[in-house]
Symmetry: D3
Amino acid sequence: MGPVTISRRFDFSASHRYYRDDWSEEENRRVFGLCALPNGHGHNYTLEVAVSGEPDPATGMVINLVDLKSAVEGVLVDFDHKHLNLDTPWFTDRQPTTENLAAVLWDRIADTLAGATLSRLRLYEADDLYVDYFGATA
Amino acid sequence: MGPVTISRRFDFSASHRYYRDDWSEEENRRVFGLCALPNGHGHNYTLEVAVSGEPDPATGMVINLVDLKSAVEGVLVDFDHKHLNLDTPWFTDRQPTTENLAAVLWDRIADTLAGATLSRLRLYEADDLYVDYFGATA
Amino acid sequence: MGPVTISRRFDFSASHRYYRDDWSEEENRRVFGLCALPNGHGHNYTLEVAVSGEPDPATGMVINLVDLKSAVEGVLVDFDHKHLNLDTPWFTDRQPTTENLAAVLWDRIADTLAGATLSRLRLYEADDLYVDYFGATA
Amino acid sequence: MGPVTISRRFDFSASHRYYRDDWSEEENRRVFGLCALPNGHGHNYTLEVAVSGEPDPATGMVINLVDLKSAVEGVLVDFDHKHLNLDTPWFTDRQPTTENLAAVLWDRIADTLAGATLSRLRLYEADDLYVDYFGATA
Amino acid sequence: MGPVTISRRFDFSASHRYYRDDWSEEENRRVFGLCALPNGHGHNYTLEVAVSGEPDPATGMVINLVDLKSAVEGVLVDFDHKHLNLDTPWFTDRQPTTENLAAVLWDRIADTLAGATLSRLRLYEADDLYVDYFGATA
Amino acid sequence: MGPVTISRRFDFSASHRYYRDDWSEEENRRVFGLCALPNGHGHNYTLEVAVSGEPDPATGMVINLVDLKSAVEGVLVDFDHKHLNLDTPWFTDRQPTTENLAAVLWDRIADTLAGATLSRLRLYEADDLYVDYFGATA
């Protein structure tokens, strides 16, 4: 029939802070604004995971959604209700922006989807702000 | 000016069941879960129909939305308030998954849009689950 | 401080049919329209469960959301992915309209919330259609 | 004509943690779950502020929305991008639950609306979870 | 069983302008801001019509939605795609604010619902701004 | 890491009319329907502005959202609360359709984003209707 992309949304909550130790306090506030405040703030993140391929003729499915849910939730448990800077190892040398968070999630999720092709991550930090990421080789 | 894609959403409700007669009851339940229950269940589907092209210089439109609405609703009348397995002819040899339903809708709708190019169907089975389909030759 | 109402949404999918055996086919179609078709159709239902009271001074909570989730999901398992007419015992002598379904859900859920006051159920049959129910004594 | 209630939504982001120092670590985790983690997590909050009254015959307005916006944003600046436990004075002796946060916001906002009647605050912690608060005397 | 309120949403688009001829240009701009500009601006309005009562035991319905739809759309045809100040007779002596528009719609719709009780109109001027109206005697 | 696209939504309200002076009244009504009415009607428009690129390693950002907000709002001030036909210079020789409005907005916004690549504009005229535009050379 032709390839189909199936997308499913997942929710998690986390907090973060944008701050560079090699910058002055003033420079941090000028570039990062309120996001540089010391105790951080938080968001409800929504992640859309898109998987592409020809549907299996036997099941009519690109991927069994039970498997997709299990794989993605197995990754998100390391981010949900966490402080991204303090509770996870991925943001010691880069800021936990939505852009960088999407790339971290891509690497974690792509590894878990044996046999299926991750084609896009869309990560909402708020209803009116989101990023699309297609992997390092896109 | 350059090509524009215009997308309009349509709603319909239907019920369906995932089940293969050549599989055991256990295999059906293992693969399809609650979707294999005998009497089916249902969804509010939302279909986004995307049509692309250069706007007509006289009208500023890629397609007159009255024509698009008429064409798509003429197709959806065969699906709305129906049981996809029992009341339609398209799912006798394939499962009525969102993936397969999108492909069936594509073939029906593309035929009705004389002169306009159907560029994407996005079919939501629920707020957090949707597929994108671009046709067999995409 | 004063009473607070906390509302949480839950989703389920089901199918149904409106039909009275003591009416002619014509009368059923005149009153129920497409909803009278023999094989039924379906919806994604969204249920908002509202619980009211003074927050517990120790926890700041009207009800622990883990308990609320457990109670409501324990009820919804009897409705999710079911055909309301054929797979449940509650619609043998009344139509499975959104109005009646809300009343059935109220009786089931109110019984499970020991110590908390169910104050409203809002049941969406679609994004643009919902009912509010406050119990038989409201 | 009769009273009208006008409601306007506002957004802010914050982080928080549920934890009682007079409880053991185990008790905190049993009651508050992931919300007891030490570094907190965060949310995009949405606040609906409802003001009621007879519209002014000269303007047709219950309240000038410029005034409402100014009053509410003047309050929310103390919460936006903050850690509710660490950066605000209101949660030293109570948990920063959505219930308690709504009551704190009520007291702050009601004081700023000279001449207009605050009739309800609806505070969303997430799309599927919100509280309604009507003041201490409701 | 107890009374049920059923609410259905309807959409229409219109333009309007806030301006008092008995005020100076400066006073109009001070009070009404951009809404006082001479050529008007517009909105997508969403109207939620709530009807309350005991469901009919025969049908399980508070009101047949086909009748509700017909009644409300029969009213909205006079507002849809219109300039509220110039194309309708209701705003010659009052401003077309959301508050006043809700009251006008109430009087028109309540008259058409023979046998059913209109219990609330909720009128959205935008996603983040709406009014609730309960009639002159509420 | 790979390119990221970041999208932010902006809202504005405007009114418009579709009409060609070189067509008869009948032809205008046949093609444009209610949109040809003399006094115009209006919409709440939502504009999604997508900017693409490699995130800056120092900040983790494709574009500083403060700069994006400032640039886009500096453009939208010429459209917000305006009548597109009467109050702006862009629709004297073309209809203010969503298609044409997207192209006008593209040219205005692309000029303001020094150093960043505008990759898509998505313009909603209503919740169920939107266009995507990628520039004249797309």
